[in-house]
Homo-oligomer: 224 residues x 2
């Protein structure tokens, strides 16, 4: 059929960047710090979001965009916390893009939000290639996934501003080389912040919440 | 540039199926049972392969194709076991396809292989869409990923012939609802075989090896 497959990705990514910039202008207009949260399936993105809502309750007005291939399992859990949430189902798509994100933003009360957390589709590969309009990128690596992941999925670790090493409560039961992991991550990304946390026990979450609040003050000093 | 993005996927998948059928004809000519192993990053695909090599040593001639976005970490571990191994690096691609697999097969001594294990890229979404020429599809779900995964990644569970529930040694330290998980999987895929295993302690691996050998005898009865 004469279709030139190799030109497609470039074209799609170009259009995505235009949409991402439009999203970011709208977010900045409303003073909404926006975080793109990425990880493998089951690394703890939803648990991190629930802990963040709980930790910033009464201080910061939070909204959530939930990305999933299918189901509204996560959005239902988040919605119980009384924050605005929009679910995107990608119907097989392996990442969110800026167009989907823009549509979800249209369904949120932007004038009443200080912090937008976007839970990307569970995938350690493609989400790192698509800007959504976010200000910062956070990835979770859960301990049971193993310390070799930076070597095997380098782009995600290169693109992240913060790497949260989740499920540290399982450390006694696993063979996880924390020093080797840290060295591999900083080798790819010298400026990255690495924070060990447990969304189950709460360990390390104070540092995560402090980082979030500092980012917000830095970006929108007049509001805070 | 007038590129019709929507027609692409169909075209690529059609070409992939042609290549997958060609691969399978070659595998059948040589009597090589071929298994496509899929999971999230860090669920234990390489550990399963190492245990399988060990468990079938002296009985079955095994070869491995390793798929990764980057690095040769897994291929190096497997190669130490003295079996033929070919590494495919997808350079950012989130799944193997039949063309890559065919090229890797060309680098293997097909006349001297009974069982080919293909470790797909760590990703719970896209690999399920691309046939490689395999006879059976096996997916690993590791306990720390959580029991809600069938709802969120339904295609992978629908396409699998066997679901190995790995890392059952961590069950005491996690909130994993095994009955609910089994029910969700069989709801999507009534004919699936679910086997709880631990590639760390060896639990359940006897059943896995028995299933593999039974499949091989069933498919190529004259050789065995």
């Amino acid at each position: 059929m004469g279709i030139k497959v190799l030109t497609i990705k470039e074209s799609v990514l170009g259009a995505n960047d235009v949409n991402a910039e439009r999203n970011q202008r709208l977010l900045d207009k409303h003073g909404i710090l926006t975080i793109n949260i990425m990880s493998s399936p089951g690394a703890g993105k939803t648990s991190l979001i629930l802990q963040t809502i709980d930790g910033l309750r009464g201080k910061t007005r939070i909204a959530i965009i939930e990305g999933d291939v299918a189901s509204t399992v996560d959005a239902a859990r988040v919605s119980e916390q009384g924050v605005p949430v929009v679910q995107i189902n990608t119907a097989g798509g392996c990442h969110l893009d800026a167009s989907m994100t823009g549509q979800a933003m249209n369904a949120l009360p932007l004038a009443d939000i200080d912090l937008l957390l976007i839970e990307n589709v569970g995938n350690l590969i493609c989400p790192a290639e698509f800007a959504l309009g976010e200000h910062r990128r956070v990835m979770l690596l859960s301990l049971p996934e193993g310390h070799d992941k930076p070597h095997k999925y380098p782009l995600m670790f290169t693109e992240a501003d913060v790497v949260l090493v989740n499920k540290v409560d399982l450390l006694p039961y696993l063979d996880f080389d924390m020093a080797g992991f840290n060295e591999a991550v900083t080798g790819l990304n010298p400026d990255v912040r690495i924070l060990p946390v447990s969304c189950k026990t709460g360990e390390g979450l104070k540092e995560w919440l402090s980082w979030l609040e500092a980012e917000r003050v830095r970006r929108y000093p007049r509001q805070t």
